[in-house]
């Protein structure tokens, strides 16, 4: 693990701890309702009951940020898990079994990869209609192929190794060989990829909500909050600044942790080889 990766890991952990404490404290001790509209108190500045002030509908910005954190980060993790659930088995089987099955899945993946993922997700979400559920479906449909493709490549490499060949020669079942000898070898790569991808997916969810096809009002998804604050950019920039900073720091945190984990696993592999 290089010094740079050590630093990334450290910064990532510090940032994640700070963000997690703010949002956990907010969700445990916060008393404001993120959906309560109070027109008499709109666009107010920071005060004791409203730590970050109120938005254009008189709702507490901090309560909305905390709710938005749960929503945005939670959805990011959910999407990764769903994409992995589809992509990993297909990648494993395609790489390990090969033949016609491999050719079929790879052509499907090539076909989907021919379109830029953002544009394709917009097209899917556009057909399904604007809602957060449809955005999750659209992103999962676009993201699983990346996992399938990468894992297939890793499996192709692993299956040539002697311990896998030994397992096959000893008449172990396909499932047994994959579970005991291949998954542990590629596990670290999957974790690193997922950690970096969470950040990208959070950006995707926020982008879709920003252009209006993701979270629908009054859900305080960070991208939707950015969109709602857009018209107030000159008079109350804080409506855009807070969710903007939250997205920036969360994505940065995911990237730093992903980079750090990558270094950690590489160092461990090297140690094992020695």
């Amino acid at each position: 693990m290089t010094n740079k990766q050590n630093l990334s890991m450290l910064l990532g952990i510090v940032l994640a701890s700070i963000l997690a404490s703010i949002f956990l404290l907010g969700s445990t001790f916060g008393t404001q309702d993120p959906f309560y509209i109070n027109m008499a108190n709109r666009l107010s500045s920071s005060s004791a009951p409203h730590w970050l002030g109120t938005d254009h509908m008189g709702r507490d910005i901090f309560a909305r940020m905390v709710y938005g954190a749960k929503l945005t980060i939670g959805l990011g993790i959910l999407i990764i898990l769903l994409a992995m659930c589809i992509g990993i088995p297909i990648g494993l089987l395609s790489g390990y079994i090969g033949g016609k099955m491999d050719a079929f899945f790879m052509r499907v993946i090539d076909g989907i990869l021919a379109f830029p993922d953002f544009i394709l997700a917009i097209a899917i979400a556009g057909i399904l209609g604007p809602s957060l559920t449809n955005i999750v479906i659209a992103i999962v449909l676009v993201k699983w192929i990346v996992y399938a493709r990468v894992i297939r490549g890793l499996v192709l490499e692993e299956k040539q190794k002697e311990f896998v060949l030994a397992s096959r020669l000893s008449y172990s079942s396909t499932f047994h060989t994959i579970r005991l000898h291949i998954i542990p070898q590629i596990f670290s790569e999957i974790v690193v990829m997922a950690a970096i991808d969470v950040g990208k997916i959070i950006l995707l969810i926020s982008s879709f909500s920003y252009i209006g096809i993701g979270a629908q009002a009054p859900l305080p998804e960070w991208g939707a909050m950015l969109n709602e604050g857009r018209t107030f950019i000159q008079v109350h920039p804080s409506l855009m600044v807070y969710p903007g900073i939250a997205i920036l720091l969360t994505v940065l945190c995911c990237n730093l942790l992903g980079d750090g984990l990558k270094g950690y696993f590489q160092a461990r592999k090297r140690r094992n080889l020695q």
């Binding site: 959906f35 309560y36 027109m39 604007p130 009002a217 009054p218 107030f232 950019i233 000159q234 008079v235």
Partner: protein
Amino acid sequence: MKKSYISYILLIFVMVFTSACSSSTSSQESEKKKSVKLLFSFASKTLDPHQDWMGVRAGIAETLVKIDENLEIQPWLADSWEQLDSTTWKFHIREGVTFHDGSTLDAEAVKRSFERLIEVNEAMNTNLKIATITANGQDITFQTTEEYPAFLSELIHTNASVIKVDTDKISEKPIGTGPFQVQSFTPESEINLVSYEQYWDGKAKVDEAKVTFNSDGNVRALALQSGEADIVYHLPPETLKPIEESKNLHVESIMSLRAHFLVYNSTNPQLQEENVRKALDLLLDRTTIVNEIMNGHATEATGPFNPMFAFSSDTEVVKSNPLKAEELLKEAGYVKNASGTLEKNGKPLEISVATYQGRPELPLIAQYLQAEAANVGIKINIVTVENIDTFLWEKQEDWDIATYSNLTAPRGDGGFFLNSAYVPDGSLNPGQINVPELTDTILQLNTTSNLEQRVDLEKEAVQLIQEHILHSFVVHPHIIVGVSNRVKNWAPGSEEYYILTNQLEVE
């Protein structure tokens, strides 16, 4: 070698000098020319005045009659007219009017323009109901297919403008009779105009004008502040503060002929119940919406029509009353279930509200209604769509209520809106409203020419609409226009028809 260096330096010097001279000459020329820049919200794909409103708005083409600031019909290209019988109208075309190519405007040119209009614009063909047109010198006579008292007010429509038809570039360079002629046009981007020297009502006081489009309200507001535009239409209320505080800019806010309202989908059994619609109407706090969401740039609505019209509703503004709303729902048989949502026969009162960003205040009105409705136990789900018209018509089973906005009396008469929004199969009736009593009143209105009787019938229709809450009218928004102080002799009109005029001046 040294010599060639010197000659290079001299050459560069000469080039720089000549270019500086030429640019200073051209800048002097443009300084002399007075120009105005207009930034508008809805982009024009074509400049054909028979299909797009920009022809009249940009002062390129004109109609036979126009509407004045008191919303009364005034002569324009026609200086007089008379109704010969219930279906025949005769107009005298103003003498001395010329098209931008120098040719004289006569009744024959007007006839050919109208013949093209009803050929290329199906909606106008239906609206005008023209059977025959006869031209004789400066006199033109229209015969309508049926008794049609609203014919004169329909002629105010910008699409009914008179243009020269024997040119093949009508969509890019229409030849009209207005104070400005088109120099160049880039669809959905910009129009460059120059004043027409021989304009019949006196040459425009500016030499050139540029019209650009941008659908983003914030960008429009910033363009005004940066000096990129002199007149900017449809500013969002939230963006006005820096403009109002500026020494060089001001805001014009005038009551429009438009209404923001809720459309109820009458195919939804829950919304077929009058009490449910009345309860939702009582949850709308119109005063708060005017003061907070519209920042004061709107008037509370008491019905579809702007209160300045004689045929508008006489009733008071409906005040928000959640308690009464709850009572009405109780009367209708709704009771709260364990989760606090109202339900009847096991079916919860859950409503889907469709809205769109095109008018930024509409999603806010939807959210405000959602919060108020939640307090009494009605669950509202909001869906924001890109193209509201397509959504309302093509996905009728996906929405229960829609926030909508429309010009309700665009030409000073309510007939158009009543026919489109309340008659079954009307072009503005996606909620499929069908109240036989109201339809009869509207059909009677269509054949009534006496002005007083028309007002009475329109009032009767408004009363039925309000009584049964067929729509919930929320506010009449103001037209908010940001104007640079260098613009003189200009104010926006509530009709939004006549924007660039020959009277407009710049310092």
